[in-house]
C-alpha cells in the first residue's frame, strides 16, 4: 500500500512528538511492506509567525490532497492576545471544517500500568473502555458570532446551529460504532433547555429502530458530567454535540489517569481524516525532549485503522505501546519521579517493540 500523509507539527511539543510518529510509521511501512510518503506543512502559531495566517492556503491544499493528516498540537501563550480569527486555534477549526471531519472519535481507555495515576479509585477506573463521538464541525463553534454596542454596553452572541442532516450523520456514525462494540449508545444533550437538543433527541429516536441491536440511552449533559465521575465503566459509546463533547471528553480523559496517552481521530465522509493526540502543545516543556509521544503513536494506530483499513498494523502499534508500558518504560510525565526516557528514547523503544 502507498499513502501520502501530511504532517502538521504545529507548536510547542508538536514537532517533537510528530517526528517520532513519522519514524514509527516508517518502521510500520518496512515491517508490513507499505510506503508512506510524508509532506510537511504549517498550521497554528508557527504558520502565523511565517505567513500571518494560522491556516495558509498551501497547507489546506496539501491536506485536501493527502490520504491522512497527522497533527501535533497548536497554540501557546505567544499568540493568546491575538483577535479570535487570527489565533492558532482558528486555523485548526478552519482545517476541521475544510476537511469536513464532522466526527471526532476519542477512545477513553485505561492503560493498566498507569491506572494508579488516576485521581479516581482503582476500582472505579479499572476496565474503563469507551469512545466519545463528538460532533466537530457544527454547533456553537461555527454558528454566527456577533459583538455590537447596545443599550447596556457591549451585546455579544454566539449561535448553536445544527441542521437535521448534520445531526443525523453523526448519530448514524455513532450507532454504527456502538454496533461494532458492546451495542450501547449514550446520547448526551440538554433537551430540557435547548431546542437544538430536542431536535437531536428526536432524530436519535427516529433512527433507533434502524439499529435494533443497539441500546440507546439519553442523558442530560449535567448528569453525564456526573456519571463520568461516578461510574465511567457504564459507558460504551457516547455521542454528543461539539461543545458538550469538548468538555466531557477532556473530563473523561482525565479520569483515566492516562490523559497524556490518549489519541483522537477526526473523520468525514471519504476525505482524509485528521489524527492528533488530545493533549495540548505544552509550551513549558517544548524543545526539551521531555514530551511523551505515546498519544501521537496511538493516533497513528487510529490512522492505520480508520484511515487506511490496516487493522493488523494498527493492532501491532497498540500492542507495542502496551508492551512498552508494561515493561515499565516511562517518559517524565508518567514516571512519578522515577527514571524517565526522552521523547526520542521512547520512540525507539516502541519501534523496537514493534
Amino acid at each position: 500500500m502507498e499513502k501520502t500523509i501530511v504532517v502538521l507539527p504545529g507548536d510547542g511539543i508538536g514537532p517533537e512528538v510528530t517526528r517520532e510518529a513519522v519514524r514509527l510509521l516508517e518502521t510500520v511501512g518496512e515491517r508490513f511492506g507499505h510506503t508512506f510518503h510524508f509532506a510537511y506543512a504549517k498550521l497554528g502559531g508557527v504558520a502565523i509567525d511565517e505567513t500571518g495566517t494560522p491556516l495558509p492556503e498551501e497547507t489546506l491544499k496539501a491536506c485536501l490532497e493527502s490520504d491522512a493528516v497527522l497533527l501535533g498540537a497548536v497554540g501557546g501563550p505567544k499568540w493568546d492576545r491575538l483577535p479570535g480569527p487570527q489565533r492558532p486555534e482558528a486555523g485548526l477549526l478552519a482545517l476541521r471544517k475544510a476537511l469536513g471531519v464532522f466526527a471526532n472519535l476519542r477512545p477513553i481507555t485505561v492503560y493498566p500500568p498507569l491506572a494508579s495515576a488516576s485521581t479516581l479509585k482503582p476500582e472505579v477506573v479499572d476496565g474503563v473502555d469507551f469512545v466519545i463521538v463528538r460532533e466537530l464541525t457544527g454547533g456553537l463553534y461555527f454558528g454566527p458570532k456577533e459583538r455590537r454596542k447596545g443599550d447596556h454596553g457591549i451585546e455579544v452572541s454566539d449561535t448553536l446551529v445544527y441542521s437535521e442532516q448534520e445531526i443525523e450523520r453523526i448519530l448514524r456514525l455513532a450507532f454504527e460504532l456502538a454496533r461494532q462494540r458492546r451495542g450501547h449508545l449514550t446520547s448526551v444533550d440538554k433537551a430540557n433547555v435547548l431546542e437544538s437538543s430536542r431536535v437531536w433527541r428526536e432524530i436519535a429516536e427516529r433512527l433507533a429502530p434502524e439499529y435494533p441491536d443497539v441500546q440507546l440511552t439519553h442523558l442530560l449533559v449535567d448528569n453525564a458530567a456526573m456519571q463520568l465521575v461516578k461510574n465511567p465503566r457504564q459507558f460504551d459509546v457516547i455521542v454528543t454535540e461539539n461543545m458538550f463533547g469538548d468538555i466531557l471528553s477532556d473530563e473523561a480523559a482525565m479520569i483515566t489517569g492516562s490523559i497524556g496517552l490518549l489519541p483522537s481521530a477526526s473523520l468525514g465522509s471519504g476525505g482524509p481524516g485528521l489524527y492528533e493526540p488530545i493533549h495540548g502543545s505544552a509550551p513549558d516543556i517544548a524543545g526539551k525532549g521531555l514530551a511523551n509521544p505515546l498519544a501521537t503513536f496511538a493516533s497513528v494506530a487510529m490512522m492505520l485503522d480508520y484511515g487506511f483499513g490496516l487493522g493488523a498494523e494498527a493492532e501491532a502499534v497498540r500492542q507495542a505501546i502496551a508492551r512498552t508500558l508494561a515493561e515499565g518504560w516511562r517518559t517524565a510525565d508518567i514516571a512519578a519521579g522515577g527514571p524517565a526516557l526522552s521523547t526520542e528514547q521512547m520512540g525507539e523503544t516502541v519501534r523496537n517493540a514493534l
Copy 2:
C-alpha cells in the same frame, strides 16, 4: 425578626424534604426569637397537573412578595414528553428570570465523614472547599431559539447572548465573594472559540484592578473540567456562564462524594433569593420517606445567611448537620448499606442537634 418564606415543594421528593426544612426553620425561629411565616405555592409538574402551566401567576406573585423562596425539586418522567415551554423545568427557568436571580452560588464542600463515598481518592477530595458562581439568567438558556424547515431538513438554533452589564454584575459578585474567602477567583470561559467568552474575559480583566486583593486566573472550560478531577483543592471561587456552570457544578458536586448534601442559593439584587438543594426530584424514591433532607437544610442555612443576614443562625444549622453526620446518623442514600433513618427521623435528629 419576621420573614415570609414561600415554599415550593415541587415534584418527587420535593414535598418530603421541604416539609422537614420548614420544621427546621420553625425550630430556628423558636431558638433565636424569629417569626417565619410560610406560604405554599405550586411549581413544576404539580402545577402543570393542577393549572396547566409550570409557573402559575399566583405562584410568581407570592414569590415576588416574599422575603425568600424555598424550593424542593421539579420534574419527572411524567412530564418529559411535553413540548419545551410546557415542562416543569420551564417553570423553574421562568421563575429564576422573573426573580432576577442572576447568581447561582453552589458551595462545593466535603463532609469529612462522607469523604470515602467519593469515587476520588481521599487525598484528592480531603479539604475541598470552593464555591461555583454560575450566571443564571442569561446565555444559551434564555437567548432566542429557533426551529425551521431548511434545505437539509430541520434547521435549529439556540443563542448564547450576554450583555456587558450581565457579565459585569456576575463577575463583581464573584470578585466580592473571593475577597471574603481566600482571595482566588477562577474565571472559566472558552475564549479561544466563543466571542461571548472573549468579551467575558475582557470584562474580567477590566474589573481586576478594582480588586487588587483578589488573584484572577482564566481557565478554558475543557481544562476546568479536567482540573476539577485532577486537583479540586486548587479552587476557591469559580465564576462562569450559565451552561458551563450547569455542567461544571454537577461534575464538581459529584467529586465530593457529598452530592446529596449540597445546597444552592440563587441571588439577585435586592429581591428574594431562591434556595434549593442541587439534587433532583428523584421520582424513584418519592413518597417513601427515604429522601435525604440535608441538602435542603444546608439551603436553609444559605437562606438565613444570604437572605436574612442571620449568620449565627446559619452557622448553627450547618453545625447541627455536621454534628449529626459526625455522630453517624445516615439516610439510605449515604448509609452504604448500614442502618438508615427516614426523612422525618433525620429531620428530628438535626432539630435536636440544633
